[in-house]
């Protein structure tokens, strides 16, 4: 099945700033199983892979709803893309890790961000079933980054040092 690659919204386009800066709304339970919504999930996964992203939130492709996808590259335990619908961070470890982040919505900008090393996320999966996931390291970082997106927050709001992006590049 070949899905459509979606246009990526960036904060460098003034008309796209609102989408990336406002709090996204909850996905109604009845929406989740509709064909359109399932297509959107698949389109986002394809878009994420093609852009070499490790995570993608719906506002980044112009949908102000609480949906994000995360690449299996984020953690060895993931065998397929992780779909988070209406995610909530319910717990986080007190210890933080500093790491370099970038973002498809802020192209060519990278920075060091302190994130909780371990977080617990509650969300719905793509069939609408609730689940709880504890992630550490990179997965924890990506989940925090994506949940931030759904609240209009970008990694640049949390960095105190802009970097070259060298750590992230292959």
């Amino acid at each position: 099945m070949s899905r459509t690659k979606l246009p990526l919204w960036t904060i460098f386009k003034p008309e796209q700033v609102s989408m990336l800066r406002t709090r996204a709304v909850e996905v109604p339970a009845a929406t989740i199983t509709t064909a359109d919504f399932q297509y959107l999930i698949d389109d986002m996964v394809k878009t994420m892979h093609q852009a070499n992203g490790i995570g993608l939130a719906a506002p980044q492709v112009g949908n102000s709803i609480r949906l994000a996808v995360i690449s299996p590259d984020a953690d060895p335990s993931l065998h397929q893309p992780l779909v988070l619908i209406n995610p909530i961070l319910t717990d986080h470890s007190p210890d933080q890790e500093r790491g370099e982040e970038g973002c498809l919505s802020v192209p060519k900008v990278y920075g060091l961000v302190d994130r909780a090393r371990r977080v617990t996320v509650k969300a719905l999966d793509r069939t609408g079933q609730p689940f709880t996931l504890v992630g550490t390291g990179l997965l924890a970082r990506v989940m925090q980054h994506e949940v931030d997106h759904l609240n209009g927050t970008l990694f640049i709001d949390r960095t105190d040092r802009i970097t070259t992006g060298r750590d992230l590049l292959p």
């Binding site: 700033v17 709090r23 609240n151 209009g152 927050t153 970008l154 640049i156 949390r158």
Partner: protein
């Protein structure tokens, strides 16, 4: 139960955020506090601040106190029984007696990523210092100057040729887009204010005309100041005892071939001013009593200007 909100603001900077909060279903604006109407322009007509004008148009209760230091005024504010106050570009100090009135505090929208650029000219400071990022901070005000804990920050990468009016507009819009999330997050406990790291703090003071005087040691810095200080105080230099404004210019890194401050002819009709680290090439300048003019027309109008040694 709606939250009783008081707004403090004068310049247009806070308007996008104020408008959003005035429409917020959980908020009731019980007072808008702005500076008094002041004479402005050639005919010295009494002109309301942009926030006063907005409050009148929106039929919101407006108070224009000349200062907040008197106890009678503070009692008047307390009588509004505010739960929360929002402060942006108000221009007067809020004394401790006022800060303690709203039960959920006074929240300031500051035009920088605190603790960087505490003080009166944060937007100019971000451009002048060549920062990679600017932004806004939602700060719970305390008695110090921009020293309170920060509820949330929103950043904006700066492109290399941004000017003060452009950045001010972008930050003002950013506040409009983020205010509701930030304030709701504060009220419902999602965002916990974090104390600022004083070690990383920098200060910026209110700009004066003298801040705009050109120094020729660094052209790189001068080109940033021209963008940071437009439209006021601008960057200017003295020639024959009169101020010439450099309205727009680019910096070119070259090995200096003359004393810093020397006005040198370049190829074709271009000219520049030598600096310690290269050359500043103006594109738009303004001579006293004249309209702004393209730099290329200067040698024609002022033949003796080329070759001058500026202080």
């Amino acid at each position: 139960m709606k939250h009783r909100l008081v707004i403090f603001g004068s310049s247009a900077f806070g308007l996008p955020a104020f408008s959003v909060m005035a429409k917020h279903p959980a908020m009731e604006v019980v007072g808008v506090i702005s500076q008094p109407d002041r004479p402005q322009g050639r005919h010295h007509e009494l002109t309301p601040t942009p926030v006063s004008a907005w409050a009148r148009e929106s039929s919101l209760p407006l108070w224009q106190f000349p200062s907040l230091q008197e106890s009678a005024i503070q009692e008047r504010l307390a009588a509004l029984r505010p739960d929360i106050a929002l402060v942006a570009a108000y221009g007067l100090i809020l004394p401790s007696a006022v800060l303690s009135i709203p039960s959920r505090g006074c929240i300031n929208i500051h035009g920088s990523l605190l603790p960087r650029h505490r003080g009166a000219s944060p937007i100019a400071a971000a451009i002048a210092e060549g920062d990679a990022m600017a932004g806004i901070s939602y700060m719970l005000m305390d008695a110090g100057v921009d020293t309170g804990p920060v509820i949330h920050k929103y950043a904006l990468p700066l492109h290399a040729d941004i000017t003060h009016p452009e950045l001010e507009q972008a930050l003002s819009d950013l506040a409009g887009k983020t205010i509701q999330t930030a304030i709701d997050g504060w009220l419902d406990g999602t965002y916990v204010p974090v104390a600022q790291d004083n070690q990383l703090a920098t200060r910026c003071s209110r700009l004066t005309k003298e801040d705009g005087r050109a120094h020729w040691d660094s052209g790189r810095r001068l080109s940033r100041l021209i963008r940071a200080y437009t439209p006021w105080p601008g960057v200017w230099t003295e020639w024959n005892g009169q101020a010439i404004k450099l309205l727009a210019a680019t910096y070119e890194a070259t090995t200096p071939t003359a004393k810093p401050g020397t006005v040198v002819q370049l190829e074709q009709r271009r000219w520049g001013i030598m600096c310690g680290d290269g050359i500043i090439v103006p594109s738009l300048v303004q001579f006293p009593g004249k309209k702004p003019q393209p730099a290329a027309t200067v040698p024609g109008s002022y033949p003796t200007f080329i070759g001058t040694q500026l202080n």
